[in-house]
Symmetry: D2
Subunit: 151 residues, 4 copies
């Protein structure tokens, strides 16, 4: 089994007009938005509801997962209407943090890469704590087919 | 046949974390972004490619369709993870302009409405001109099931 | 005294590259973001701190002011680097709601207008309630020079 | 003379409500937008007009400066209303590329860092080329007070 076979890790979207700028192509920081939306969609498809991980009115999860670092590499310009395939590679870094690598392809070419690094903290104390159980399930299932993962 | 039966006029999306603000619910102007993305997705599903309507590197369509007016009504708060059904009602206003009404429903409730009004102009002269043919096809096909439409 | 003389009602900003799209000009929904940021800056300049009106970590104001309606009219294309003067006209609609009209000028021309309508609700019960005192102060001071205002 | 004394390299902004998410604090990718807006404002204050560097209707500069890499580190949560001081450190990497490091401080604390890396390409051929003259002037003037800079 390979990562490619895990349906919740391969997502699609299309470059929209509002994602572009006056140079005619995708404006760089939109990619980070796409990354986070892909992360949310991946959790959803895997079976983790948004309310288990993200604050909603009347319910704040005990553990927050703020992003402490992100990066992106832009390999080719992206035009309005370009279809994108997004491959996610989630990886646990230690018991209280993980990162997700996002590879964007369009028309058989690598066009961009993104990375988000997330830290588990107690929503109340803001002290570091272990990752919540739904995230651990997703990380473990996602690591199948990716070779050995760090604990 | 009713508008509901036209597949390119009924779209879905999910409220994402980045769409919310510190009040815990969707930040108002994101709705207008959703409207435009729904308009683009509708054209795509109907069979109009993005490059026929929107500028892409190396190709500027002869007719531009700038938005001259937009509005939105917010009927209920929307939380991260909420699924949305978006019904589009495109309508020709005169030979050189059209508008699209967007109705957002979530869990069987009307939650928001949006409107965008578009004017056809010559990309070069910026003078008013007739709507481009692909938009006319989409408007005509969309009007089936919506009763009589103004020419 | 005229509205023009009230310093917290006349603000400036510049169109930025990320505000544009592949048509080379400001993408429509950015205007609504500018409106809300102008509303926030106006309150700040008048002397109302953000924490009195908007939720911040550990402090949720008793009264929330969700936007129930917004609209915008686009009169001229706006390019990257264009300077904007934004004139605000806040207006109380009834004891529990108000709206703000935003007029955008660039190089002595009217280029766009925006409108946001806000409703006061109890943050807890989500029932309608009177406007909070800092907003009333700002509305009253802003109405000087605008002629008679509805109570 | 130190970098701090170069007025076009020290900018201010305030966290706005629409920059936050339902966790109550700034949503991560907004920081990259702030970085690019700070880069544009810095050029403007230094005396480089937007039209010399960014495409505007009817004028495309001969050299484009796409971002090929960006990153951000988030050191502390940022709430609506928080004032930010942004220190820019532009640095030429080679004759055809440069990067800008952005340090964000609020209330005497380091709260975030950003980085954008830009490559000069011919707008027509999309081949690499030397940096445009206005960018070189800005880089050279900015390097005074920063110690020795790579050519």
């Amino acid at each position: 089994m390979t990562a490619d076979s895990l349906a919740w890790l391969l997502l699609c979207r299309t470059v929209r007009f509002g994602d572009t700028d006056a140079a005619g192509v995708m404006h760089f920081h939109q990619l980070l938005r796409w990354c986070h939306e892909a992360y949310e969609e991946s959790l959803e498809r895997f079976g983790v509801s948004a309310a288990e991980v993200f604050p909603t009115p009347g319910h704040v999860p005990a553990v927050a997962l703020p992003i402490v670092h992100c990066s992106a590499d832009f390999l080719a310009p992206l035009a309005c209407g370009d279809p994108l395939a997004i491959q996610l590679e989630p990886r646990r870094l230690d018991p209280g943090s993980f990162e997700v690598l996002y590879s964007f392809r369009s028309s058989e070419r690598d066009v961009a890469r993104g990375l988000t690094r997330h830290l588990a903290i107690c929503a109340d104390s803001r002290q570091r704590c272990p990752l919540p159980e739904p995230i651990n399930r997703w990380l473990e299932a996602s690591s199948l087919g990716q070779g050995i993962q760090p604990l």
